[in-house]
Every structure is written in structure tokens, then in C-alpha cells.
Symmetry: C2
Subunit: 388 residues, 2 copies
Amino acid sequence: MVNSAVIGYYTTQFGELWERSLMDLLKEALFGALTETGLQIDQIDAIFFSNMLSGVLDNDLHLGAKISEIIGQNIPIFRTESACASGGMAFHLGLNYLRSGSGKTVLILGGEKMTDYDLETITTSLASAASEEEQQAGLTFPGLYGLLAQSYLSTFNYTEENLAHISVKNHYHGSFNEKGHFQNQLSLQQVMSSPYVASPLKVLDCSPISDGAAAIVLTVDANLINKSPHKIKVLTSQVATDTISLKDRQNLLELKATKIASEKAFKACGLTPKDINLVELHDCFTIAEILALEDLGFWEKGRGGAEAVKQKTRFDDNDGLIVNTSGGLKASGHPVGATGIKQIGELFLQINGLATSRQIQSCNYALTHNVGGSGGTAVVNIFSNYED
Amino acid sequence: MVNSAVIGYYTTQFGELWERSLMDLLKEALFGALTETGLQIDQIDAIFFSNMLSGVLDNDLHLGAKISEIIGQNIPIFRTESACASGGMAFHLGLNYLRSGSGKTVLILGGEKMTDYDLETITTSLASAASEEEQQAGLTFPGLYGLLAQSYLSTFNYTEENLAHISVKNHYHGSFNEKGHFQNQLSLQQVMSSPYVASPLKVLDCSPISDGAAAIVLTVDANLINKSPHKIKVLTSQVATDTISLKDRQNLLELKATKIASEKAFKACGLTPKDINLVELHDCFTIAEILALEDLGFWEKGRGGAEAVKQKTRFDDNDGLIVNTSGGLKASGHPVGATGIKQIGELFLQINGLATSRQIQSCNYALTHNVGGSGGTAVVNIFSNYED
């Protein structure tokens, strides 16, 4: 298969950006990524664009043509939506586009504008990713993940403290990420004393509502890869889906889509979890990071609660596996359409030594994990250093 | 490039289907297409799903996972949205997926549920595909195409009657399509005496608000193609975008995205418009069929108004070019997410001799043309008989 590489990355600030529109953010990310790579817009063959909520929140659809207007080009622009996995799906489709021979270089762009709305509106809008029955029952995403957390804690005899350590660790990482939504560290006591959102999840177990956009440049052009000072190699991208309704799952202790996508990913590139030392995963809630590390094969099922307490997945204190150096969704924020792209961008920064004060020492293989809804969609990508 | 073929097609009834939900319709189309091909669901490697409005109208997103629930499979399911071109874009991405080697057989599925809402809600929701400025000015899609029609009629000295003939012709075709929304013929007098929606467009110049779903099975599996009794060969699929705002276009007499996509398509397969004798194109309004036939290269710019009057693109009375045997969007209906897929399905029926009372005599090469918004996105696909 033809070699493909990410050769550039740009992210806007993530946070409550009340003075910026979605289009402002997308424009900044799009041209930011071009500037990083030194490419002109006419060197981009297509754009894969991810966004979840602009239709629901702002009656704003067909953003492909609106992006065409910004760039003054008539290239194909595809929008994909798979709830919070939209960014990962856009990357996957962009990669397939290149591998099909339809183009040489594409831009993967994602963004979301979420903080201009009251909390009820935004929570209800996000619940659009849940099943009709779950929505009618009044379940929101904290509620759904609260059920998963209850099941996990009771089955394996853990307490809410086991969850809280994930938040402490991710906020520690986030304190080194100047583009992140939150840059404050949290103590265990702070997380534990925060109010409940959906028991056993407290507000500091939950990723925030954020604005932001991110873009990467992906290419199969060997000359361009060769000339690029910064790059990471794409080894594989895999997608799986699962029933969205929790009631239809055989097992609430695992997210099957994550399991299937990661098994396919490891098989496709001939690696095992032991080979990976850097992961950006989908910690929309603290329980989600624990489930993900188990379902991706890094920790045995049920061990995650105990492992979380050790906090040994830090960039500066670990046993060989480092998780969410960006601060994850929890600290760096979760502007839905941007998240899956920012995850890849974080690996790009780390592998190329561009991660400033949170730079890890070395990385052979790295993985991203992006989830839609309560596990209905999962995208797992594996990357490496680019060796010519 | 590896050969790819459409090997099955199913469409639900299009129309005002108040007793059916979107999921009902999608399920019928999905399993209908499988039944047509004799395939089991586990022979499908991925689904490409198109829908425009379920988020906006029904707070219903992440439909990939909801489709996974229906089929009980964990395969990748991608949703794409490019307004009324969503179906064509899903097909394009599905084709690229197969050509990248990621799978052998995919299902392209699209649907829309539009008739449960009052006209103001649906018109405003559809306007989500227009620019913010156009929306704020109160422009709806009839308004935008009304401006295009005014420009065309005044530049080339035509009258509203030139437009009306398109509607008469498409309703004639529609009278032979038992799955279509409208199966009544219309006289020129009926079209001309219908009330204005946005001058010069009258209600009978406009495609209707419809419910419906459609699905096709697309494969690169040579054995499967060989065994399939019915098939059409995919020669090329091309996409282009353009500024969505009419005010930013250099020329209101053509849809540039259509022009670019069709030029790329003809070049890619070494054909010219003269080689094509069957077209399903995007006649969301009567003016759109005239512009499309010019921009696709079948008629010189400005000739369309005169050609329309001749009504010589009928399946049973033509000069070698037959247009919209399904009845087009005008008569067969326009459930947005389904439209681009139904267009391909109509060619599949015609080329395989399955088009019952509207069957054409023969077809060498056929083309579909699917548009988003007022021309912001265009997808052009070319097909042929499948010769082993």
C-alpha cells in the first residue's frame, strides 16, 4: 500500500470563544495548517470536513460549499457526521480517498461552535446521538456514561476515586497545553468534591462544552513527504460501529466498537498494544478513558480502575505507556468536530518534537481513539515515525 | 483501475408517507437492496449513508450507529451531508472506499423524512444549505432558483412557458413510475396557471417535499459481478464545489460546479456528451434542468429554453438524449438524502431492462447529476452496460 503521512497540523485555541464564529475558527485552522506546511490552497485536492451540530444549533448545513467560498477553489469538500467521532471518520475517509488514487493531498478539517447556547439546548442537542428511546427517557450523555460507570464500579468493586484520578492526570497534562480549554491542575479532592452530574459522574469527571477547530494535511505525495520537515506515517485507520442503545448491548463493561476497531488496527499493521507508547483517546468522561484503555488492549478488563490510581500514564512519569498528553477531552476541551483531528495533531507534535513543555522523550508507535455517542462508533488509527 | 459495478437497487415509495418513520424507510430500502441482490448483510463491508435534515428536524444524529443497531453488524457506517447532493456524495465516497482496497462490497443508503413538518419549518430547514447572508435576507431555495431563472429568461429572451415544458415532460415520465411521488400528467396550461412561489417560478415548477429512501449495492468483487444477473458498470464519479452565495458568482447563467464536475467526468472516461443517451439530473426546479443540460454540455448555453419546448428528451420520443425517465425530482419526488441514489437506481433499471412501462429501447452510456443547494456542490457519475 502507498505510504501516507500527516505533514502538518494546526489547532485554534479550544475554549469559550464567544467572539468567534464557527467559520472564523474553521478558516483559522484551514489556513493555519497550510501555513505550517508551506502549501498553497491549490495544492489541496479535496477537503474532508467534520462537524456534528451546526445544523441542529444554527440551521447551518452544506458547509462544504461554504468552505469552498472561503478558499475560492472548486475542489470536492465532503462533510461527515458521526457524533463525537466525526473527526476520526473524516480522517478515515480522507485516507481512503488518497489510497483510491483520487488525489495526492487532502486537508482534514473539523470544528464546532458550542458555547453560545444555554446548557439545556446543548445537552439536548448532543443527545441527538443517543437512541430515540434513550432521548425520550431523558437520558443525556452524562447519564449514559453514568450507567456505564455504575456498572463498572459495582462489578469490579471500585469507588468514584478510581475515576477521579483520570481527571487529575489529564488536567496535569492540560496544564502544559496552551491551546487547551483548561490549563489548571486539579487535586483529587477537587474532583471528588465537585457536584454530581449523573451519579457516579461529577462535573469534574466530564469533558467540557468547547469551541474550536483543527486541521491536518495528509498526503501520499512522496516528494512532498520527502521535503516536509515534520511528518508522521499513517500505518492504519480502522472503524467499527455498535448498537447505539445501551439496552441492546450484551455487555456494558466494554465498548465493542472500540474493541473491534482496535483489533482490526493492530492486525492490519502487525503490532500489539505493547508496541504503542503514546495514545490520545476519547475521555469524554473519566470512565471512558478506563474502558478505552481496557478495550484497546492496554489493560486487562477490570484492571483499569486500579491502574488509574497509579497515574503512571503521565508524559513525565510512566511505565512506557503515555495517555492524553494534550490533556484529553477532559482538560483540552471537546469541540466535537475538531476532537478526532486534534488527537492526531497531538501525536504529530509529540513525534516531531514540537510538543513544547509536555514533550515526551521518544515515541515509536502511537494510537488515536475517537468515539461517537456512548460507543456507537469508534475510529482507531496507528501512526509511527516517518522513516524514508 | 479495478472494475466496479452497481449490482442491485431498491427504492421505497416516494411521497407523503405519514405513517412511516425515517428508520422504517431506511430499513425497507436497506433490506430491499439486499433481497434484490440475494446478498446477506454480512457480505456488506461498509455502508455509506446520506441524509440532510434528520438533525435539524428531529434532533436525530449519529444515524450510523442507529443503522448498526438495525442490522446487528459492527461494520463501518459513514454519514455524509452535502444538502441535496448528499446521496451523490455518499456514492462517490463509497466508490473511493472500494477503490482504496478497504472493502469489496458496500451499500449506499439514503433517505429523508420531510412531510411531517409545517411548510415554514421545512422551507427554513432546507434554507440551512444557503449562505448565512441569504438566510438572513429571507431567501429560500425557490427564491434562489427564482433569481437564476429571472437571469436566464431575461438574458436569452425566454418566457415562463419555456420553463413549464420541463415540468410537463417530467410529469409525463412520472406517470409511468409507480414508485414516484406524483403519477399524474400535467398540461402546459396547468403548469402556467399554478400560483407563483418565487417569480418566475410557480408551484408546478418546483419539486415537492417528499419522504422516501433508496439503496444500491456497489461492488468490486469480480465473482459477485459475474454472478449478478443485473448490473451497470461505474465509469467515473466526479465532484466539484462552488461558492454557495449567488452574489459571489461571476456568472448566474451557469452552475460552475456542474460544469467542472462534468468536464472532469467526461475526461476521466474518454467520452463526450454525444456518447450519453440517458441522463438523470437534478431538476429541483424547472430552470435547474435547463441549466444542467447546458452545463453538462448537452445543449449550448442559452439553447435550453428553446430545446425544452420541443420536449424531445422523452423516453418514447427523443432525438437520442433521454432525460429523467424517473420523472425527475419534479414528479418522482425529492426526499433529499435519497435523491442522488435513486438517480443511479433509475439508470440501473433502464440499462438492465427493468424499467417496466417507461423502459427505453437501448442505452450505451448514462449519466447522473446531483446538486447541493443553489449549485454549491455537484456530483456527476457516468455508467455503462457491464460487458465482461
